[in-house]
């Protein structure tokens, strides 16, 4: 009954995630709500089984590979920060971000990082090898920013 309230996100954590991923406050709280509802074990982390319980993801031909993208090398649990970091790749690029000169570290939802995410879906054994030239040639004119972004309602 009170388990959700006790693991409520602290303001400092929300600020950290905001800085790192660029999500807004309400998006973070909503996604946290989603995270806790997927976390059936109620231990603050998600395992691969928690993802596989989503039917729409289970029938996606790339489902398993997408799930893998959430888990860093060799780990079986992902916490909320890791969850958000991966989801951040799909945040749309806002206009004011496009015009910024390259900041100290590239934002997670930049064109390059979106491409990197898609690349990793192909690179199953994570040895960074698929024919690079081929990929670049094909993707040169594709509107990566739009096709690899999810439209948020807030």
């Amino acid at each position: 009954m009170g388990s959700r309230a006790s693991t409520l996100l602290r303001e400092e954590e929300i600020e950290e995630i905001k800085k790192e991923t660029g999500f807004s406050h309400s998006q973070i709280t909503r996604l946290y709500s989603r995270f806790t509802s997927l976390d059936k074990g109620e231990n603050g982390t998600l395992s691969r089984e928690d993802f596989q319980r989503i039917p729409e993801l289970a029938i996606n031909p790339l489902g398993d590979r997408i799930i893998n993208a959430f888990f860093p090398e060799g780990e079986d649990q992902v916490n909320f920060k890791g969850f958000m970091r991966t989801l951040a790749h799909f945040r749309p690029i806002e206009d004011n971000e496009k015009n910024k000169n390259l900041p100290a570290s590239e934002p997670l939802n930049s064109r390059t990082n979106k491409l990197l995410f898609a690349f990793r879906l192909y690179d199953l054994d994570r040895d960074n090898k698929i024919s690079r030239d081929e990929l670049l040639q094909v993707l040169e004119k594709v509107d990566v920013e739009q096709k690899m972004s999810i439209r948020f309602l807030h």
Binding site: R30, P55, I59, P61, K147
Partner: protein, 457 residues
């Protein structure tokens, strides 16, 4: 010493005796007698209106408290967070390819590396928000209804609100709960006792009439035991003999709600314990369909018993919940086709609970039955609307599955629920691999299909 205590004892006994008598008289007059005759004083509706005003006030206070501290409120995620494009696999992939090359689309062809974008985005969209998993947990509310179980903004409660909450707690557990438990026991006890009595009568019109009256009366007492405030719409469409009544399933209380307004033959598995006792005595008064555990798996046997019952026009309409499991009342999930295959007229019923007063959804993985009933009896009230839809029959050329989907769509539309094709069994089981293969087939058909076009041109 004895002399000193005695008068005091006597006084205490007298006081207790008087309060019990008063208590029971009030109970009788205001609750049991109306239940017997099916009338209502309107007390419950007044209660409902008062509660609503208090809840609004409570929500405003919390919002004010949050603003003062300059914080954001925790918002429930049942409101959509992302906008999903309803485009199909083909359209999206064509678009991705179109922007990537200047080639003419018809001759576009094999697999392209950029196709992966579509699947990746869809996959991550479903991680952020999917249609199925949220149906198996209680709906979250924007306003607070003074139950701690549904509040996630603890930090912003002022003193006044806490006092009100405490008062609410006292009223609910101290007054309402004992009252309701007493009523529940009365209702169930009367049901068992009277139906067993009626079972002794010879079969005939008298028996059926009495059985109807007794069932209705006991269910009405149970309705009051839950303080259920029910609004029935379109009663002219009430199910008739020889038909099957189907409804969406949210909790075991659905049965009590429907059965207090009409007489049905119940279908189900025979349980042990108290449930079993109730079931066995009910079937003495009028024919219900109870299955032994072993018989449940045999689909033919089940279908045969149902169709035998339906063909006998003197028997009551059957009540069935085709979803097979409890869903959280925001959507209607796949209907099992068994009851639509029998060829009887189907009377659909839509049940929608008002979540502001107490969430009626039974999350069987979280709470057992007794725990659930206690939670129900210690909520403020259970408010719901029941719509009787016009009867439907299977049309020529329709198979059982299509018929089931048609009925489901009608129920979802009337009740304002989302119509889903997913199986409620996904609550506990994983998706079958065949569904994944379907998706793969769709994609490969698209690839192969364009090759055919190419060879043609």
């Amino acid at each position: 010493m004895e002399l000193f205590f005695n008068p005091f004892d006597n006084l205490l006994c007298i006081l207790l005796g008087i309060s019990f008598t008063v208590w029971f008289t009030l109970l009788l007059v205001f609750i049991i007698v109306p239940a017997i005759f099916g009338v209502s004083f309107g007390i419950r509706r007044l209660y409902m209106k008062t509660l609503l005003k208090i809840f609004e006030w409570a929500t405003l206070r919390i919002e004010r408290g949050a603003k003062e501290k300059n914080h954001h409120l925790y918002k429930p995620y049942s409101n959509a967070i992302i906008a999903k494009e309803p485009t199909s696999l083909e359209e999206e992939i064509k678009e991705i390819r179109r922007s990537g090359s200047n080639k003419d689309l018809d001759s576009a062809s094999e697999f392209e590396m950029s196709d992966i974008f579509y699947f990746a985005r869809r996959g991550v969209e479903s991680i952020m928000d999917d249609e199925v998993t949220k149906r198996f947990s209680a709906e979250e509310l924007e306003s607070w209804n003074l139950l701690t179980r549904s509040n996630y903004n603890f930090h912003y409660i002022s003193l006044r609100l806490t006092v009100l909450w405490g008062l609410g707690l006292l009223i609910r557990y101290g007054i309402l709960l004992p009252l309701r438990v007493t009523l529940a026991f009365t209702g169930v006890g009367l049901l068992v006792f009277l139906t067993s009595l009626i079972g002794l009568l010879p079969n005939g019109r008298m028996k059926n009439l009495l059985s109807e009256k007794v069932h209705l009366m006991c269910y009405r007492i149970c309705v009051r035991a839950l303080t259920a405030i029910i609004t029935y719409h379109d009663s002219e469409n009430k199910p008739k003999n020889g038909g099957i009544c189907v409804a969406n399933h949210t909790s075991p209380i659905d049965v009590i709600i429907l059965a207090s307004d009409g007489c049905y033959a119940m279908v189900g598995q025979i349980h042990g314990g108290l449930m079993g006792v109730i079931q066995r005595s009910m079937v003495k008064a009028c024919p219900h369909i109870w299955f032994e555990r072993s018989e449940v798996k045999d689909r033919h046997l089940v279908a045969k018993r149902l169709s035998d019952h339906v063909q006998d026009k003197s028997k009551l309409p059957i009540l069935i919940f085709p979803e097979g499991t409890c869903i959280n009342n925001t959507s209607v999930m796949m209907f099992k086709k068994g009851s639509f295959d029998i060829g009887a007229t189907v009377y659909p019923v839509a049940i929608k609970y008002d979540p502001r007063f107490g969430d009626a959804f039974w999350n069987s993985s979280k709470f057992g039955m007794v725990n659930y009933l206690l939670r129900m009896m210690s909520s403020w009230a259970i408010v719901c609307s029941v719509w009787y839809l016009p009867p439907m029959s299977r049309e020529g050329g329709e198979d059982a599955v299509q018929f089931a989907n048609r009925v489901k769509a009608a129920i979802a539309r009337k009740g304002g629920l989302v119509d889903l094709l997913w199986d409620g069994g996904l609550k506990r089981e994983k998706v079958k691999d065949t569904f994944k293969e379907e998706q793969q087939k769709l994609y490969s058909k698209m690839l192969v299909g364009t090759q055919e076009d190419r060879s043609r041109s």
